[in-house]
C-alpha cells in the first residue's frame, strides 16, 4: 500500500530534515547523483505510460527527458517514479522526486499552500465525460440522476461537484483511488459515466473492453491547465524547468525542428541564434546550463509540436487534435516566452 506510506514518508522527511534552511541547490544535487528523478503517472497512455519492459514514454515523460538533456545532454539520465493522484504531492514535498510531470492541474491552492510552483502550462485541458453509446446521452446535462465514476484525490472531483451544483443536477459520485480501478468499475457497468480530463478520457477509452462502445461528450466543464511542478524553495531549478518548457515552444514557433536544427545553426534569424546559443549568445549560463542547452534538447527530442504529435497527435492512438494547444498564430493559445 504505497499510497498510504507516502504521506507518512513526507511527514517523516519534514520532521527529520534539519530545521535549517540551508538546502543544497537541486541542480548541484542532480549533477552529483547523475540523474533527474521525475514523478510521472502510473500509467496514462500518451502522457506517462510504461511499456512491457518498464520503459516510460509519453508527453509528460518527454518533458522529464528534456530537462535531463538540458542538464546532462543525455535523455536517458532520468529515473521515473510512478505516482497516483494522492501520492504525487507528498512525493514532491518530501524531495523523493525533483520534478513532477504527471498531468497535474495548475490551481491556486496547489501553487500557494503546498510549497510548490508551476513552471508553465504544457497542455491546456478540461474536464469531460465518457458514456456508453447505448445510453443515448448527448450532453452532460442529460446525466441528471446518473452515477458517475471519478478518480479520488484529483481536482476532477471538485470540478464535478461544482458543475452539477451550478446546473442544479443530481448525481451519485463513485470516488475510487486508482485510475485502473475507476476504469474497471465503469467498464463493468457500475457507473453511467466516467469523468476526468478530456485528454485522459481519450486514453481511458482505449483501455475499455470495447472502445467503440463509448463516446466522449462534447462539453468541457472546467479549465485544467496541466504543467510541470517543482518545489518553491529553489529558484534556479524552477528557472531551468520553466525555460526548458519555453524553449520547446519557442523552437516550434521559430520553425526549429529535430531534423533541421543543425541547418538552423546557420540561420540569420537572431531569435534562432539566441535559442541555439550561436555565436556569443549564452543564455544557458544564467540558469547554470551549457550554452547549447536548447540545441541539445531539440536535437534529442524535437520541438513542442513534434513531442505533441509523437505522443498525442492525430496519428497516434490517442488521436488528439492540437486544438487549444496549437501555437497562438495557429489558432491555439500556446505561447512561448521569448529567449531574449
Amino acid at each position: 500500500m504505497k499510497n498510504k506510506l507516502l504521506p507518512f514518508l513526507a511527514g517523516a522527511a519534514l520532521a527529520v530534515a534539519a530545521a535549517s534552511s540551508a538546502s543544497a541547490g537541486t541542480l548541484d544535487t542532480i549533477k552529483s547523483k547523475g540523474f533527474v528523478q521525475c514523478g510521472v503517472n502510473t500509467g496514462l497512455p500518451g502522457f506517462g505510460n510504461p511499456d512491457s519492459s518498464g520503459a516510460y514514454s509519453g508527453f509528460d515523460v518527454d518533458y522529464c527527458k528534456a530537462v535531463a538533456v538540458a542538464v546532462f545532454n543525455d535523455p536517458t539520465k532520468v529515473k521515473y517514479t510512478p505516482l497516483d493522484g494522492t501520492e504525487r504531492f507528498p512525493a514532491l514535498q518530501s524531495g523523493e522526486v525533483d520534478l513532477l510531470v504527471r498531468n497535474t492541474t495548475w490551481t491556486m491552492s496547489r501553487d500557494t499552500t503546498l510549497g510548490f510552483t508551476f513552471a508553465g502550462v504544457h497542455y491546456y485541458d478540461g474536464e469531460g465525460f465518457m458514456v456508453r453509446k447505448s445510453a443515448n446521452i448527448a450532453h452532460v446535462k442529460d446525466l441528471d440522476g446518473a452515477t458517475i465514476c471519478v478518480q479520488g484525490g484529483t481536482d476532477t472531483v471538485t470540478g464535478l461537484a461544482d458543475y452539477f451544483k451550478k446546473n442544479n443536477l443530481k448525481y451519485t459520485p463513485l470516488v475510487i483511488d486508482k485510475l485502473a480501478d475507476v476504469n474497471a468499475a465503469y467498464d463493468a457497468g457500475r457507473c453511467d459515466a466516467l469523468t476526468t480530463d478530456r485528454s485522459g478520457l481519450a486514453a481511458n477509452r482505449l483501455q475499455m473492453k470495447a472502445p467503440d462502445d463509448h463516446v466522449i461528450l462534447p462539453e468541457m466543464i472546467s479549465q485544467e491547465p496541466l504543467g510541470p511542478v517543482v518545489r518553491n524553495n529553489d529558484v534556479q531549478w524552477f528557472q531551468i524547468v520553466k525555460w526548458v518548457s519555453n524553449a520547446l515552444l519557442d523552437a516550434e514557433y521559430l520553425g526549429v525542428t529535430q531534423a533541421n536544427v543543425d541547418d538552423m545553426l546557420k540561420s540569420p534569424d537572431s531569435a534562432v541564434q539566441r535559442l541555439l546559443g550561436v555565436g556569443d549568445n549564452d543564455f544557458g549560463k544564467s540558469i547554470g546550463l551549457d550554452p547549447k542547452w536548447a540545441y541539445n534538447i531539440i536535437k534529442a527530442l524535437g520541438n513542442y509540436g513534434e513531442i505533441y504529435d509523437r505522443n498525442l497527435g492525430p496519428k497516434t492512438p490517442m488521436g488528439l487534435a492540437r486544438g487549444l494547444n496549437a501555437q497562438w498564430n495557429q489558432g491555439g493559445i500556446q505561447y512561448g516566452i521569448p529567449i531574449l
Binding site: 499510497n3 498510504k4 504521506p7 507518512f8 513526507a10 511527514g11 519534514l14 520532521a15 527529520v16 530534515a17 534539519a18 530545521a19 534552511s21 493522484g85 494522492t86 504531492f89 507528498p90 514535498q93 491552492s109 496547489r110 500557494t112 499552500t113 503546498l114 510549497g115 446525466l143 441528471d144 440522476g145 446518473a146 452515477t147 465514476c149 479520488g152 484525490g153 484529483t154 481536482d155 472531483v157 471538485t158 464535478l160 461537484a161 461544482d162 452539477f164 451544483k165 448525481y171 451519485t172 459520485p173 463513485l174 470516488v175 475510487i176 483511488d177 486508482k178 480501478d181 475507476v182 474497471a184 468499475a185 463493468a188 457497468g189 457500475r190 453511467d192 518545489r231 518553491n232 524553495n233
Partner: protein, 393 residues
C-alpha cells in the same frame, strides 16, 4: 576470609547509584527527558520546515467547505466541511466493520465447528473453505466480490425483482419504512414485552434450579414479544407506511439503498476473516479436554447440548483473546475499500488531502481515529473476557 571476623565487619559505603530504587528512578527520568526532547525536536523541525517551504499547516481546514461529493451513509454534500466529511468516513468505517464482524463471527463459528464434524463431507468443505480463504490476500477477496460477483449481477433495467425489493449491479434497493405519529406506542410495547420476557426467563431459571423442571423460556418470551408488539401496532392503527423505490432514468431513487461497494466490502471482510475465526474456534474447542465431552455424554446430554452447555463455554476462554485481534483486523482491513470506492475514513482522507495538501494533519487524524476504534474494541473484548474468565475459588 572477609567474614571470619564478624565483629569488625562494617557494611560498605552505599552509593546512591547502587541503590536499585534510586537507580530505576534516575533511568526513568533520563528516558522521559530523551523521549520528550525527541518529540519536541521532531515537532520543531516539522513546523519550521513546513513554514519555510510555504506548506500550510494546522487544523483550521477542518471547518472549511469541502467542495467535493462522496456517497456516504451520512448525507454529505459538497457543502459539508472537511471535518464532517472525515466524520462521515469514520461512520462508514464503523458501519461496515460492525456488520463484517457479525458475519465473520457467525460464519467462523459454524465453519470452525464443521471442521471438527464427524461427517466427512461437512469436514472437508469446511477445511477447503478455511485453506482457500486464509491463503488469499484480503484485497483480492474484496475485488472478487466487487468485480466478479456484484458487477456480474444484471444491469438496472433487468434487475431481479422481489416485490418492491430489487437487486442489480447498482446495489440492493428496498422500501424505506416511514414511522407514523403513534409509532412510539408500538415501540414502548416492544420494550415492555422485552422486560416481561426477560422476567419469564429468570423465573424459569430459578424454577429449574429449585425443582429441576425445564420450561421453554425462549419460545414463550418470543411469543410474548411478538404478540404484545403486534397488538400495540394494530390497536394504534397501523401507523407505518413505506417509501417505495422508484426507477428514474439512470438510477433508483427513494427507499433504502445498499450500494455494491458496501455490500461487497462487508461480505468480503466477513467471509475472509471467518476463515481465521474458524481456526480460532477449532483450537478453542480442541483445547477443552475430551473427558469433558465424555462426562457430559455420560450424564445424558445430547450432542447439541454437550456443545452448547459444556464445550463452548470452556472453549470461549481460549477463543476470546485471539478473536479480539481478528475484530481489530476487520476494522483495519476495511481501509482496503479504497480500491472499490467505498467512502471509508482513508478514502475520504485521501480526498481531503488533495485540495488541502495537509498530509501530516490528515495522517494524524487517521491514526487517531483508528487508534480510538481499536482501543474501544479491545476494551469491550477485555471486559467480555473478564466476565467469562474462570473464577477460581
Amino acid at each position: 576470609m572477609a567474614v571470619t571476623d564478624a565483629g569488625r565487619f562494617s557494611p560498605p559505603r552505599e552509593h546512591w547509584y547502587n541503590n536499585p530504587k534510586a537507580r530505576s528512578i534516575a533511568i526513568q527520568i533520563v528516558l522521559v527527558v530523551l523521549v520528550v526532547g525527541l518529540v519536541a525536536w521532531l515537532t520543531n523541525n516539522t513546523t519550521t520546515n513546513l513554514r519555510e517551504r510555504g506548506i500550510a499547516s494546522g487544523f483550521a481546514f477542518l471547518g472549511q467547505r469541502a467542495g467535493f461529493d462522496m456517497t456516504t451513509f451520512m448525507s454529505t454534500t459538497s457543502e459539508s466541511t472537511y471535518g464532517f466529511m472525515l466524520l462521515a468516513g469514520l461512520v462508514d468505517t464503523i458501519i461496515v466493520s460492525f456488520f463484517a464482524i457479525i458475519i465473520a463471527t457467525i460464519l467462523g463459528l459454524i465453519v470452525g465447528i464443521a471442521r471438527l464434524s464427524t461427517n466427512w463431507l461437512v469436514r472437508t468443505i469446511a477445511t477447503v473453505y478455511v485453506e482457500l480463504l486464509r491463503n488469499i490476500p484480503p484485497l483480492l477477496v474484496i475485488l472478487f466480490w466487487y468485480l466478479a460477483v456484484i458487477a456480474a449481477l444484471p444491469a438496472m433495467k433487468d434487475a431481479f425483482q422481489l416485490g418492491d425489493f430489487s437487486l442489480s449491479n447498482r446495489g440492493i434497493f428496498m422500501p424505506r419504512p416511514i414511522l407514523g405519529d403513534n409509532f412510539q406506542y408500538t415501540f414502548f410495547a416492544f420494550l415492555i414485552s422485552l422486560v416481561i420476557a426477560f422476567g419469564v426467563r429468570r423465573w424459569a431459571f430459578a424454577r429449574q434450579m429449585a425443582t429441576g423442571k425445564t420450561f421453554p423460556a425462549f419460545r414463550t418470551g418470543l411469543a410474548i414479544v411478538v404478540v404484545l408488539t403486534l397488538a400495540a401496532f394494530l390497536v394504534t392503527g397501523d401507523p407505518l407506511t413505506f417509501e417505495i423505490p422508484a426507477k428514474t432514468r439512470f438510477n433508483i431513487s427513494g427507499g433504502w439503498t445498499l450500494p455494491p461497494e458496501f455490500v461487497s466490502l462487508m461480505l468480503a471482510l466477513g467471509v475472509y476473516t471467518a476463515s481465521f475465526i474458524a481456526e480460532i474456534v477449532r483450537s478453542g474447542i480442541m483445547a477443552v479436554s475430551h473427558g469433558q465431552t465424555e462426562a457430559a455424554r455420560a450424564i445424558g446430554l445430547k450432542g447439541s447440548l454437550v456443545l452448547r452447555l459444556v464445550v463452548l463455554p470452556q472453549a470461549l476462554r481460549v477463543i476470546i483473546p485471539p478473536l479480539a485481534s481478528e475484530y481489530l483486523n476487520i476494522t483495519k482491513n476495511s481501509s482496503l475499500g479504497l480500491a472499490i470506492g467505498f467512502a471509508d475514513l482513508v478514502a475520504v482522507g485521501n480526498n481531503v488531502l488533495n485540495p488541502t495538501g495537509q498530509s501530516i494533519e490528515v495522517v494524524a487524524i487517521w491514526m487517531l481515529f483508528y487508534l480510538g476504534l481499536s482501543i474501544i474494541i479491545s476494551f469491550a473484548m477485555n471486559v467480555f473476557n473478564a466476565r467469562i474468565a474462570l473464577t477460581e475459588r
